[in-house]
């Protein structure tokens, strides 16, 4: 099987398709022309930029460059997970970043050192960066769903929680139903996608490997590995963010800090 490289003219031919969106917008007066233009420019620029950065990282091939890159990716993912939540509390960012970082680094390290132990060196950017990217992207979902379920449910169940506490429940006993629900909801999307993967659509990474000429069976093996990496990282990340938030919102004196949960102004 051979791999066909695209020229910039080929890319331009694909980009020309945006005219279809433009015509729809103009014909139906959707007033989306400006956003379309901006989105097209951003898609092109952002991806080109990432392409150049990756090209450089791949060429340099040094462990500290790869680690720095992974670190930046982790921070961006952690920030995104926290920013999606419309409630906040003191300690939310620490909880989010810590659970995001620990879960994805542990799982990616396991993948690089154990699962892919035959690769030349553990920091080979060709493996480390895409694996970390996929793990982070999915863990981000689990963490943000877990976090927003937790904060909104806690705010809603204040009466129930205070009642349990005032009858002698420990903070853990009082919070447990809510913690369970947040973790369950955080882990649901990945389980759902494991149920239908391959049936409804082909995952992006597998598609990419097929396009680059990898045999389907090889591509599928990678995809199976990825699904399990993602599932475990999501579980770790969700449990982590829920547990750390719980420790910030319930004191050692078994008090629920309802007033610590604030609502953030929606600026989206």
């Amino acid at each position: 099987m051979s791999y066909h490289a695209l020229s910039y003219w080929d890319v331009a031919a694909a980009a020309a398709l945006i005219l279809i969106n433009g015509i729809v917008s103009i014909a139906l007066r959707l007033r989306m022309e400006r956003s379309l233009l901006l989105a097209s420019i951003r898609t092109t620029m952002q991806l080109l930029l990432v392409g150049f950065v990756l090209q450089w990282v791949f060429a340099v091939d040094r462990w500290y460059v790869v680690i720095a890159m992974l670190l930046v990716m982790t921070l961006v993912a952690g920030y995104t997970a926290g920013a999606r939540n419309d409630r906040h509390f003191a300690g939310m960012w620490t909880s989010t970043l810590l659970s995001m970082g620990l879960s994805s680094w542990i799982i990616t390290a396991y993948a690089l050192l154990v699962v892919l132990h035959g690769i030349e060196h553990w920091y080979q950017p060709q493996y480390a960066i895409p694996l970390m990217g996929m793990v982070l992207g999915n863990t981000l979902n689990g963490i943000s769903v877990g976090l927003s379920t937790l904060t909104s449910e806690l705010a809603q169940r204040r009466g129930e929680i205070d009642t349990a506490l005032s009858l002698g429940a420990t903070r853990y006993e009082a919070a447990l139903p809510t913690l369970r629900q947040a973790i369950r909801l955080g882990m649901t999307p990945i389980i759902n996608s494991m149920m239908v993967v391959g049936l409804v659509s082909l995952p992006g990474m597998m598609t990419g490997q097929l396009l680059s000429g990898t045999s389907p069976i090889e591509a599928v093996k990678y995809q199976i590995m990825i699904m399990f990496l993602i599932a475990s990282a999501t579980a770790l990340g969700t449990v982590g963010v829920v547990a750390l938030s719980y420790l910030h919102l319930f004191t050692r004196d078994h008090q629920f800090l309802f007033h610590a949960i604030g609502k953030r102004k929606q600026n989206l």
């Binding site: 205070d162 005032s166 009858l167 002698g168 004196d253």
Partner: protein, 223 residues
Amino acid sequence: MLLSVDHISRSDHLTDEPLLSDISISIAGGERIALRGKSGSGKSLLLRAIALLDPLDEGSVTWNGETIFGSAVPAYRRQVVYLPQQAVVAEETVDEAIRRPFLYLSRQQHVYDHAQTLGHLQQLGRGETFLKKRTGDLSGGEKQITALLRALAVNPSVLLLDEATSALDAETARAAEQLLQAWQQEKADIRAAVWVSHDRAQSERVAQRTIHIEAGHIREDRP
């Protein structure tokens, strides 16, 4: 002294406005205290503070001579139970709601006395079928009855009653008062009750000591 609250203060963490300022109260066994004051004067916050439900900026709560904090708190709340005005019961049957506290770690060595609950139920003019009701179908008053039965079932020493009978009809409210008085007299040396009530007549009926609260301060504490 059964319970004492020493120099407790608490302010709103956002506005820094003082909510409770340097409050000290001692409660002895057998005491029936009415906490009076305008809406927003801090009565509910004081009851919650006594139950250690909110963090205090300063001061401490002492139970039988021991300052309560950390892991001692759940066992303390087994003895000193706060009943809010809006009785909250999760969706289940009344019977399950009353038994729920016995699932908590701090109560696991305690046995639920069903016969006692049936007796209390009767004194409140309700039959055994009340226990089979779904809590979601209860009226505000019935929820208060459930919360009261549950609080008594856990066999506390001090009850902190925050408008706990406000949704009951006059007759049931009187029955609840009598039930609580009888409960207290059963072991007068170790049982006490603190009432917050907007009903002046009720406060006078149930209490032999009145504490007036104004803007988070104690203005008056008299028998």
